[in-house]
Symmetry: C2
Subunit: 238 residues, 2 copies
């Protein structure tokens, strides 16, 4: 019954977000997604795929079903900065914009539910509650961007790396209780460096230092364990 929501070869698990979020798929409710289902398409991308190019025409919106998506901006000479990370069930795309302000890239393997530009915009116009939820997501992104500006402008390399690990721990395990955290980093050292305005060498050194100080253990390259979250928080400078 749910299978026909998406014109897709992927099983019904594409709606996993619905379960996790009590009927809400981020800004879009399950009902709204269902109403759009004639137009949506589930797509898979692997890590590194470019989903949309900076300054290119904006073609569609998409909700992140699984995985992590990075938003980047690049200077002419190739210097790059990650300006946002989107986790399930965020909506990708700026309402009513005709051009992408950022480049959108899969940071990990990613499942997206693409929604054509016109279809979503039509629904937003006739649905004030949806418009309000999109406003909320945008305000949250603005808050996150401003928090990150403090990190970029005023924190030391050690504080930046600790702040990043805390951010990931918070996003990938939002309902964890107690002081222990375990997670896989969705980003390579190079991506972390681009997020923090550092070089990969500095990121690597600071991770090693956090490990030496007993704040984290690096179980495998990408797999991190935090024995005591408060200890990590104490390294963040605020």
């Amino acid at each position: 019954m749910r299978k026909d929501i998406h014109n897709s070869n992927i099983p019904v698990r594409c709606m996993s977000c619905e379960v996790r979020h009590k009927g809400m798929c981020g800004a879009l409710s399950a009902d709204e997604l269902l109403a759009l289902s004639a137009h949506t398409r589930l797509v898979n991308h692997e890590s590194g795929d470019e989903l949309a190019g900076e300054k290119m025409p904006a073609e569609s919106y998409a909700t992140v079903i699984r995985g992590v998506v990075k938003l980047t901006k690049t200077l002419e000479d190739g210097r790059q900065q990650i300006v946002g990370l989107q986790f399930a069930p965020d909506l990708l795309g700026r309402l009513n914009a005709n051009e992408n302000a950022v480049s959108v890239e899969a940071a990990s393997d990613v499942n997206l539910c693409r929604i054509p530009k016109a279809a979503l915009e039509r629904m937003v116009k006739s649905n004030p509650a949806l418009a309000e939820r999109l406003m909320s997501q945008t305000l949250r992104e603005l808050d996150e961007a401003r928090d990150w500006m403090v990190t970029l402008g005023r924190k030391t390399a050690a504080e930046k790396v600790a702040s990043f690990l805390l951010l990931i721990a918070t996003h990938l395990d939002p309902e964890a209780v107690g002081e222990k955290r375990k997670f896989d980093l969705p980003l390579s050292r190079a991506d972390i460096a681009d997020f923090l305005g550092l070089t990969i060498e500095t990121v690597s050194r600071q991770m090693s230092k956090l490990k030496a100080d007993g704040v984290i253990s690096i179980v495998a390259n990408r797999h991190i364990e935090v024995p005591k979250l408060s200890k990590l928080k104490a390294c963040c400078g605020s």
Copy 2:
């Protein structure tokens, strides 16, 4: 006739923004501001006044009538970062938020038109066009924040200072044509440093260097002239 819009001792020029923006006072149209007039209050602040404190209850919205307002975040040990600048006719305040995410301070002498929280939110609920305009402003702020993240994370001190001067030139004289620009800096060197994630000494040195290179002239401390805007742009790294 227009005098009764604001319960205020300031002459009608408080609506100057209406003229400059063809009936729009930023997100709020002149008509909408008129409809709210029973609740609004025009207030003046001088440079340095704190208009709202970080993590304090959000009490009201306000449109910037004249002057420049800075949004700041501060770490526990006092390190500060400016995370946004608001110029006339921006609306201050995050829709439906109960707590300020940032501290709001007058960067120059400022005139504000304060609008009580409930009054504006009531109007937004019944006016989709207004909601859409607020969404546009928020998306613009998000774009600006992300642009600035690139500056903070990846540009050199010289590029940061040039980018700041370009930003101010653009905002304070949006309709200027040709290559020449003249403007007064609305921020002290200390504020510029907090905006750029630098120290005041570095800001001062880079300004002196831009002057020595003929990119700008520093007529008085705060008064800057740019003989050739394209030359300044070439210093911004992108």
